[in-house]
Amino acid sequence: MSTTSATVARPVALQGPIRWLKKNLVGTWYNALLTVLGGAFTFFVLRGVLRWVFLVADWAPVANSLKLFAVGQYPPDQLWRVGAIVFMVSFCFGLSGCVWGGTVRTFALTLALVFGTSALLPISMGLSLRLWFLANPVLVFIGYQVGRTRIGKSGWVVLGWLLSLVLTIVLLTGFKGVSWLPGVETGSWGGLLLTFLLALVGIVASFPIGVLLALGRQSSLPVLKAFCVLFIEIVRGVPLVTILFMASIILPLFLPEGFRIDRVLRAMMGMTLFAAAYMAENVRGGLQAISLGQVEAAKAVGLNRFHTMALIVLPQALRLVIPAIVGQFIALFMDTTLAVIVGLLELLAVGRAVLEINVEWKLLNMEVYIFIAAVFWVFNYAMSYASRRLETTLGVGQR
């Protein structure tokens, strides 16, 4: 293949940010007009917002109730357990960041940064709290260093996370009668701690169940298929509120005397099953998009049905539906607010309760709700960002 001898260099004049600004913002008269109008609008809105946030708003209900927002009514003398759990999470993030790199490392760094700056905030907090905040970036760093040793393999990291999950449950619930780890009623879990727990269990459990439902729905075994279709259509057809309501009120009527399912467990089960049904349909959409040629090629090369599904079809199908699945996760995170139906005080319910504490605070609902919205937004954006990075890593849309 011959190359032309005279290669033409790309004209530099068309590149560069200044050129872009000139071309797109003030190129024509209507562009310039829109720029001015847009700029003025942005300026006034920003000024209004910033003035309200820093000068007008009274953040007393938020600032004074941070502990309630964070962990609800968890007994204050047992909060060291929540602190220990966060230590474990920081360590695991450091470890994962080293072994898996990329987005995970960004998250670990962000976590360390957020905790570090929180330690230095000029608001009043006890010395132990400041030290706790500072200890977390240190743990992230330690985790990172451990990742560089021989333990730094994917298998160990996954094991570490699973162990953390188990320890979290153990630490949070405790045991009746043990003096140094007394039992804590799950009813007193609340705030962001509870929201995280419900969302995490819901997300992690609904994904595999959803995939299995989707595969079962397209199975050739009639009973399995019928069950999956029925489950999906019934669960999708009723509001989450109804499912939680049924789990909370109707389910105990069917259970034998004295046998009670824990409230948090009820909420988790309801949310998991609800999300699994939606997940199943998302995954089914992805499965349908895989061309038959892929399955034929897999068959022709001697792979059995299980291998075809696990190695060829599912990896491609799941890549395609990452946006839909992550959207589902984000919706689930926000649906945890409905746990109040089951009598649990998650983040939003704590917000409403905080407003009742003080007569003066009753008028400050804007501050409280905006704070809650901001907290939700931060975590939802983190999930959204992670999913975009995941898509880039997997080469979605490029291969």
Partner: protein, 255 residues
């Protein structure tokens, strides 16, 4: 091992098809096809589109199910028993018109996937064999690229390497060059020619008559669901017996 394709005597029956019928709903696509393919024979199947030739070779590895008749591949009868089907699929490799490479895996993993999971080979052995095959088809340097980054001819050669990785006894080709442009057709046909000369039993559905003349031991002409005529290439092109064969040849050899 080279052989003169006109006078080699073949002994073992690799594929025996007896009176194979297939219907797609009410459409009778295969109407009693009987064909025997011997070890190391290279068969080229040609015919007008819609004649059932692709459907026929797809019944051999059960990508299509035949409703009547017998198919016996390497001594294993093709029935509803999934173990027979899987055993046959391990011995029969297939190359598709649309390549059907696995886009989410690099080229090397495309080739090693089946030996690792279906034949339970250790990874190192599978990768060594895969690199040898990629060299054999002429593209060892592409091993770590993704299929989307390769040209059509390179992708089809990877598909051939992938099929060969399972060390099949029979290779089926379903119009392997129909989706390629002329420059790339040659590179793929070269690989197929080398494969034929190395002694592989092959059934090739193609319109490439030059390839057929050069490499095939037997040319089979298919029309409306059955074999109209089959013969050695020289005889087939020089002295076609049936009217329909003559008509077909006049159409394809003069455009």
């Amino acid at each position: 091992m080279t052989e003169d394709n006109a006078t080699h005597s073949f002994t073992e029956d690799m594929i025996i098809c007896r009176d194979v019928h297939k219907w797609f709903d009410d459409f009778h696509v295969l109407r009693g096809v009987s064909l025997t393919v011997k070890r190391q024979e290279v068969i080229v199947i040609c015919g007008p589109s819609g004649s059932g030739k692709s459907t026929f070779i797809r019944t051999i590895n059960r990508l299509e199910e035949h409703q009547q008749g017998d198919i016996i591949v390497d001594g294993i009868e093709l029935t509803h028993d999934i173990r027979n089907i899987e055993a046959i699929r391990r011995e029969v490799g297939m190359v598709f018109q649309q390549f059907n490479l696995f886009p989410h895996l690099p080229v090397l993993q495309n080739v090693t996937l089946a030996p690792i999971w279906a034949r339970k080979w250790p990874k190192a052995q599978a990768e060594e064999t895969a690199m040898q095959l990629l060299e054999r088809v002429g593209i060892p340097e592409q091993a770590h690229k993704y299929p989307a980054q390769l040209s059509g001819g390179q992708q089809q050669r990877v598909a051939i390497a992938r099929a060969l990785a399972m060390q099949p006894k029979i290779m089926l080709f379903d119009e392997p060059t129909s989706a390629l442009d002329p420059e790339m057709i040659k590179e793929v046909l070269d690989v197929m020619r080398e494969l034929a000369h190395s002694g592989m039993t092959m059934i090739v559905v193609t319109h490439e008559m030059g390839f057929a003349k050069e490499v095939a031991n037997r040319i089979v002409f298919f029309e409306t669901g059955n074999i109209v005529e089959q013969n050695r290439p020289e005889e087939f092109f020089a002295h076609p017996r049936e009217e329909r064969t003559k008509e077909f040849l006049s159409q394809i050899l003069t455009h």
